[in-house]
């Protein structure tokens, strides 16, 4: 097949050529990310409000989280972003094997994130009675920390509400991302991503990086409030 004919089959009928299609798809993806920014934005707005109204409760709440988890996730996601970026590069260079390897690595890190978050961190929170609405009854050391900050339980509960909403929405995006990576892997095996139309990989990459960025903000906003010196 000539390059000309090959690209013709890739172009959807509404487009003139692949160039137009690629730039339309990419722009569409960026716009989608914009909507995501505002989707998370509502939660960030509420977070900012209550954090400023109840600073002590948010500090206290933050001290009930484990920085190690937060930092670990951050590093994990940055690594996965790197492999994702390298994956895009491999697709650009039409290197099927390395693309596969990078995608698998990214997949593993993404899945690990979700798994650890749910199985260990959230479940741990649940056991400690930190889930508002479901089981909110901080006790033992946690309660002492709360008292130490002169925070009130309902206000700490608000902190945890935002913690669960924000990380939950983020985790949901991770799950979707892992699903997208799975699809990409299948396409890659079928050779679809390494014949020039690398932009599917690029678009999943954009999404993946965006989710990473959200976490970059969540980490200090949730895990690192008010300094750890106490």
């Amino acid at each position: 097949m000539s390059a000309e004919a090959q690209s013709a089959t890739l172009v959807a009928e509404q487009f003139e050529d692949l160039e137009q299609q690629k730039s339309a798809d990419t722009f569409g993806m960026w716009l989608f990310l914009v909507t995501e920014v505002l989707f998370f934005g509502g939660l960030f707005c509420g977070y900012c409000l209550y954090r400023n109204v109840y600073p002590e409760a948010f500090e206290a709440g933050s001290h009930l989280l484990k920085v190690t988890y937060g930092a670990f996730y951050t590093v994990l996601l940055i690594c996965s972003s790197l492999t994702m970026a390298l994956g895009v590069r491999a697709a650009q260079l039409r290197l099927k094997t390395s693309l596969t390897v990078y995608l698998i690595l990214t997949w593993i890190m993404g899945a690990a994130f979700v798994f650890i978050k749910l199985r260990y961190e959230w479940y741990g929170d649940y056991l400690e009675g930190l889930v508002p609405g479901v089981h909110f009854a901080p006790h033992g050391e946690n309660l002492e920390i709360i008292h130490h900050f002169h925070a009130l339980l309902p206000h700490v509960s608000l902190f945890f509400l935002f913690y669960f909403c924000m990380t939950g929405l983020h985790a949901l995006h991770m799950v979707v991302g892992v699903g997208l990576l799975t699809t990409l892997l299948i396409f890659t095996q079928q050779g679809k991503n390494t014949q020039g139309n690398y932009y599917w990989v690029e678009m999943v990459g954009l999404y993946w990086h965006f989710v990473d960025i959200v976490w970059i903000f969540l980490f200090p906003l949730l895990y690192l409030i008010g300094g750890r010196y106490v």
């Binding site: 920014v37 400023n52 109204v53 940055i78 970026a85 020039g196 990459g205 300094g227 750890r228």
Partner: protein, 113 residues
Amino acid sequence: MFEHVHVHPKFFYVKVFLALIFLTALTTAVAYVDLGYFNTVAALVIAVVKASLVVLFFMHLKEQEGMTRVVIVAAVLWLAVFIVITLSDRFTRHWVPSNGPWEGSAITAPQSE
């Protein structure tokens, strides 16, 4: 036409990656130093820098057309407007408006009888 694609060397991405890891370490470390109010400022500044690194280099915003950049900036701007104005309401709710020049007298304290 695919050959026009601009491919960065691997090292390019690794550099960004290292910067990100460094900043993560930094932000965690800073949290253990008592800067008072500035703990939050530092955390946010570092987060913004990290996010910019990802957007500019991993997401190749630098190579995107102008419109994409405008769109991204607009989104962040609206979000900022949203948050700033909402907070400004909450934190000025108890300010009692003072007498204006139209009432011909000086500023008065909040009403208390």
